[in-house]
Point group: C4
Chain length 223, copies 4
């Protein structure tokens, strides 16, 4: 992968990636599912539907966080697909990434709570954005470390490896921009996070492709 | 599997299904287990048994949700058994499915809370039913997408693949019917969900088969 | 394994056991870890140590439940070690087992709350015991079903399979006896559960063996 | 590995390590993620940032515990990398280790709550330290047991096995020293735990190596 491969590589510990994948999947799964504990049930009243609808900031925060965790998991699973072995430092970089994933329910809760109060909102949106940025940054750092240390499989195509780098790095820029915007107009930043979230989690292409395929099949009579 | 296989398939990312299975198992397991946090302990009183029995709507909601998650997991594990590889879109469809699985504790809590109050009950039963329907719909969508994109193993028998499709799709109809009934008679819909749940989770056939086998053995003296 | 193997076996769905193992490990892990949420922190006071010690029923319930889940997991992992394939009914029996594992935090909480109040204590100890019995019963049922349906690997030694059966079934009797005792003397039943728990979780043999080995090594100067 | 291998080894149950790894990863992941539930959201006020900053003991406790669990997981994954098979006693030693991992959120919560009150602080720091010590001790015990029973793979290099022993055992001494210091100066012990935590979780070497590599590449124009 690189001819600057360190001389000390053979002395370093070489580990399977299965444990790292299992811990990561566990933490991604739990962080995503714990978010539901923040969805409070309104008290029984004459108009429960309205009370439920008034909780929209909570649903919004839940949706954005779930989609962000899902997105981080997608990137993570693509990265580990290319890994051959892990070393002790890669595992730690991964642990820092998992730290920021597991802490996400906290700023999510904050966002849901503070979204309608002027000053607190700005704090919440900024902390939330920094958390999303940290998740992106350590995903990217883990990937670049794996490449530079020759931990990716040698049969990977050079162009595919570059494609992943090209995909991971720009998202950092967009998060940084959204954080900057959020300092001035907090609610715009939330909308930006929502757009990114919806763009990521809804598989538009899949839906379109299925519809197209379905039509083709209806016309040709295939199953 | 299908001769409408897309020309662009080779250019798309092809991934192992192990990570997708691990995240899914994690979220199924956590969503199923978090439900227990809703089972509140009545305060110590002269008649604790009665206070416990009066909580029956909570137990009912817990049981129906656990059985539904269990059922969704059964279908999911059958589907992944037939998968050879995943692509980025399949992973996202799966993430949307997992979203609806992980959010289920929320309408479950709502159902348990609102079941005895007239107006709120209708809202809770409908939201709950829509969640069950969404789980079924995205399970089915994931499966049909996998078939149409040629992601299932080629050595699968055509008839087995059709059998799974035949099994997944009708459940969508029954959920839709139950939601409709729930708009008029909410408690009937809950009973319907319970019947589906019990039908799914209690392995009647296993019990009968074991009893029959046990008798045969008692007669023939085998172990 | 058995010559009463059903004629319809080839028509039934045959599944890998890996998904079943993953879901089970997830639910065992979560149920065991959620128990910690019941350990409340006493308010800051002049004598915090004493307030902490007065919470002993909570610790006791936590310890017994953790050990019971650990024990159930041990049995479960031995069983799946012998399995070759799963069928749809085995997966459901396993789901019922997981249901009783995931619900255990509820009677555990109840036990911790009610242990010092006379009447409630009896209810809590009985419900708790029934839950332990159900976990044992469905572990045993899953195993016997797997044997009778020929789902265990053919290269397993007959005597090992019998040894597992001999180990699983008596524990059902001891739980049933403890439940009966608990109806008369609830606190005795808790002590019995504690004894079973300590007996299971503390690896006495390992400690003794290590000490013995350590001595041998000290004498012979080996590493 | 050792010529004191017991004569009764062949009669003991020999198990795959995959289930043990899966349960462990699950419990490590959940314990690490449940910690986030303790991070409370301050009420909306004129100065939310300040209220958030005043919660520093909670963040500190969260960080130390996450890093400790991460560290325990790193050691655990190195150990299982060397394991060939597990026996029933190793699984139980591992369960005791997992017990102390899963209980860690309790003293973490205590530490966060009591850190500013004089007497309670000492109790919290000591209980917390004992929990960290127990995690270290059972990690070490599991490893030594595996070596002494010949459960590690035979193709492992003797020197690597010794290196792991040399790494695991001293941390026990440092935890014991920190607990002793904590009895006199509780806050110093917390700082010590923080130093250990930061030392473990931040991959200083990785950052430096990446920077150095980046410079080399910038100079030589490689990718």
């Amino acid at each position: 992968m690189t001819d600057t491969e360190p001389a000390d590589r053979r002395r370093r510990l070489s580990l399977r990636t299965s444990r790292m994948e299992a811990l990561s999947d566990g933490i991604f799964a739990i962080a995503a599912t714990l978010l539901v504990l923040d969805l409070a049930i309104p008290k029984v009243s004459s108009d429960v539907s309205r009370s439920l609808l008034e909780q929209w900031p909570t649903y919004l925060a839940y949706l954005v966080s779930f989609a962000t965790i899902g997105n981080a998991w997608l990137n993570h699973s693509v990265i580990t697909e290319y890994l051959e072995r892990a070393d002790a430092i890669l595992l730690r970089l991964n642990l820092v990434l998992l730290f920021f994933v597991s802490v996400l329910p906290f700023p999510t809760h904050m966002l849901a709570e503070y979204i309608s109060s002027e000053n607190a909102e700005r704090v919440a949106v900024t902390v939330y954005g920094l958390n999303l940025l940290a998740i992106g940054a350590f995903t990217s750092l883990t990937w670049h470390y794996a490449i530079s240390e020759g931990l990716v499989r040698r049969d990977n195509k050079e162009e595919e490896v570059r494609a992943i780098s090209r995909k991971l790095d720009p998202s950092l820029v967009s998060y940084a921009v959204a954080i900057g915007i959020g300092l001035l107009w907090p609610q715009v930043a939330v909308v930006l996070y929502l757009i990114i979230a919806l763009f990521v989690i809804i598989p538009f292409r899949a839906v379109f492709r299925l519809i197209r395929r379905g039509r083709t099949r209806a016309l040709t009579g295939q199953d």
